[in-house]
């Protein structure tokens, strides 16, 4: 292979390079700061990410680069933007949170940026090896971030569960990749697609590989029955990390899911559609039913995020531009609404676990009307009530399911949404209709960073709900080449 065939194109990985550079810069700057002023690193990260955001948006090159390993197409650009938005929110709410729980170490921001790089590599990977390396970078960073409150027992417990099951899922994914390699003699997605055509549907290597890879991804998106780690890890992790884990990690796994299953395994779709159908239906129902009985708001949001994963999975099945683009749109909306809800949670959590119970939200509307209103907005968006982005996202996904004749799945989706209304509304009911248990209990003040995060999340949730057209078009354009590619 000559150097020209390799197509070394640094411009195609510019966002990844820049975020890595930012991470290294933060790492070095950390050495010059004393313990009190670590929050400055947060501002550096935010400024850097804000500069990289437009660059990530325009970094598109039509040709696969680095020996056909990296694909900097509009699809990866869309997801890079989602990841950077998620990282921005997480860093924004981290600065005060870390002060509150008294873990002020500068490496936190650096590891968070490395996790973002891992996600970006996953979204742009055109080869299973590259995908795996990106996934490991993301996962390793998250293992550390989840365990960041080392002195808190729950943090260590959650991190250990996440680590053990995450390592297992990596093993399962790798095993699947090796079977696919055994089938097609290549880890390149386009190369696999060439052999995974209709006639090859019965090849046991391929079916086994597809099933194992799907299971590996399902661990990362926390789909039932591979969700066991999620509630514990979410509860134990610092709240901004939980938010990042539920938005970023999920979006990255779905990006990989979409790219691998649409480009590489499209020819043998009947092989995996049954599996995804079952997992999707089970995840939706399980997530929303179990969330009802939760007393801790982080655990409730964890199960709600499991239910959302189930609904997003519908879009993988429909197998057309409408379905796949609604997955992307859903993840963009989810970034805003879920980050908003977690911002409120992070604000009211105090060191030692106080403020985590749903009953702590009693009577919030009387004491903090603005924040209670925004929290209601985010919860209604998560439940899928118009005019929020949550409604449009759910609407697009369910409409594409009906167009593709997945009537039962759409019915289950609507039912799960109806069930989920119950636990989201419970929090709103507590905030508006109940008296607080203890008026004397001081409530934390929302400082500048929280206000920015809350307003940005609210604006995103509403704009995406009222005026979705340009964003949906963007997702449509980004996903179209995947299906064109199949035509020839």
């Amino acid at each position: 292979m000559t150097l020209n065939d390799l197509n070394i194109n640094l411009a195609s990985v510019l966002p990844q390079l820049l975020v890595t550079g930012l991470g290294l810069l933060v790492l070095v700057l950390d050495l010059f700061l004393d313990k009190k002023s670590k929050a400055a690193l947060g501002y550096v990260s935010i400024a850097g990410l804000l500069v990289i955001l437009p660059i990530a948006f325009v970094t598109v090159s039509p040709e696969a680069s680095f020996g056909k390993m990296v694909m900097a197409d509009p699809f990866s650009a869309f997801f890079n933007v989602v990841f950077i938005i998620a990282a921005l929110f997480s860093v924004l709410i981290s600065m005060d949170y870390l002060k509150k729980v008294n873990v002020q170490r500068g490496e936190y921001y650096c590891i968070m940026l490395f996790a973002t790089v891992g996600m970006m590599i996953m979204a742009s990977a055109a080869d299973l090896i590259n995908l795996y390396v990106g996934l490991e970078l993301m996962a390793l960073s998250f293992y550390v971030l989840v365990a960041y409150r080392v002195d808190e027992r729950r943090s260590v417990e959650g991190a250990l569960k996440y680590f053990v099951l995450g390592a297992l899922s990596s093993g399962v994914l790798l095993y699947g990749i090796s079977y696919v390699y055994g089938f097609s003699g290549s880890t390149n997605l386009a190369q696999i697609a060439r052999y995974a055509v209709n006639g090859a549907g019965g090849n046991p290597f391929l079916s086994l590989g597809i099933a194992l890879i799907a299971i590996g991804f399902c661990f990362k998106i926390a789909a039932f029955p591979f969700h066991m780690w999620a509630p514990d890890a979410y509860e134990g992790a610092p709240t901004p990390v939980t938010a990042f884990l539920s938005v970023g990690s999920k979006a990255a796994a779905f990006a990989a899911f979409l790219r691998v299953f649409i480009t590489a395994f499209s020819g043998v779709r009947p092989q995996w559609s049954g599996l995804i159908w079952t997992l999707s239906a089970a995840t939706m129902v399980f997530g929303s039913v179990v969330a009802i009985s939760q007393k801790n708001i982080v655990r409730m949001l964890a199960y709600s995020s499991i239910a959302h994963a189930g609904i997003i999975m519908i879009g993988l099945l429909t197998y057309d531009t409408a379905g796949a683009s609604s997955v992307m749109y859903y993840l963009l909306v989810y970034a805003f609404m879920n980050m908003g809800a977690f911002t409120v949670v992070a604000l009211f959590i105090r060191d030692g676990g106080a403020g985590e119970s749903i009953s702590d939200y009693k009577g919030l509307a009387a004491r903090r009307p603005g924040i209670a209103f925004l929290m209601s907005l985010f919860l209604l968006a998560l439940a899928g009530i118009p005019p929020t982005g949550g409604f449009t996202a759910k609407f697009f996904i369910l409409a594409s399911a009906i167009d593709a004749h997945y009537y039962w799945l759409a019915v289950i989706g609507v039912l799960a949404t109806a069930i989920s209304l119950f636990f989201y509304l419970k929090v709103i009911f507590y905030m508006y209709m109940k008296e607080p248990d203890d008026y004397q209990q001081p409530l934390p003040e929302a400082d500048f960073t929280y206000n920015v995060a809350l307003l940005a999340a609210a604006a995103g949730t509403l704009i995406l709900g009222i005026y979705p057209a340009p964003f949906v078009d963007m997702a449509m354009e980004a996903i179209k080449p995947f299906f064109n590619f199949l035509a020839f």
């Binding site: 390993m69 390396v133 990106g134 293992y143 080392v150 002195d151 003699g185 290549s186 086994l208």
Partner: protein, 171 residues
């Protein structure tokens, strides 16, 4: 002849792997893990992959196992406690593993490679190490570079987690 050796190595690997999980003494388990990993290295040699075999010996048998033994020594694992924790799950685990190996074995025997085997025939693989080095720095240069970031993240993570514990909870 080669097949005979393969079965010998495979059988020893499986038996020693069973010993790893069934023995009560953690040090004995670790020693049997070394035996198991060495058999895997031998299988790599049979597969004409001497580089992988060497890496297997260096990294797993060497570095990783030394760490295992250090951990066992530092933690001073009580043998009885280990037994209580792990061996109560033995029954279901055996059933699941047996079912898994039956399914995987069935698929592995039935499957076939549809794609052409590529440019690496036996003659090309005679220079196995050179081939790996060349492809690492051409075809796989991007993931290879990303791995360096992965290692950096792992390094920072290890320092973060350990140094906090040393500082008595960081408070």
């Amino acid at each position: 002849m080669e097949q005979l050796f393969f079965y010998i190595f495979a059988a020893i690997a499986v038996i020693s792997a069973i010993c790893v999980i069934s023995l009560r003494n953690a040090v004995h388990s670790a020693v049997f893990l070394i035996v198991c990993l060495l058999q895997v290295a031998a299988v790599y040699i049979l597969l004409r992959a001497p580089f992988l075999a060497a890496v297997q010996v260096f990294i797993y048998v060497g570095a990783v196992m030394v760490f295992f033994l250090f951990a066992v020594m530092v933690l001073d694992l009580g043998t009885e406690k280990l037994k209580q924790h792990i061996h109560s799950q033995g029954g279901p685990a055996v059933v699941i593993v047996a079912a898994m190996s039956a399914v995987l074995g069935y698929y592995a025997l039935k499957g076939s490679i549809t794609a052409p085997l590529g440019e690496y025939n036996e003659a090309a693989l005679a220079r196995n190490t050179e081939v790996i080095g060349r492809s690492l720095f051409t075809q796989y240069i991007f993931p290879f570079e990303v791995v360096s970031v992965v290692l950096l993240a792992a390094l920072i993570g290890a320092v973060v987690l350990v140094s906090r514990m040393k500082a008595g909870g960081g408070r």
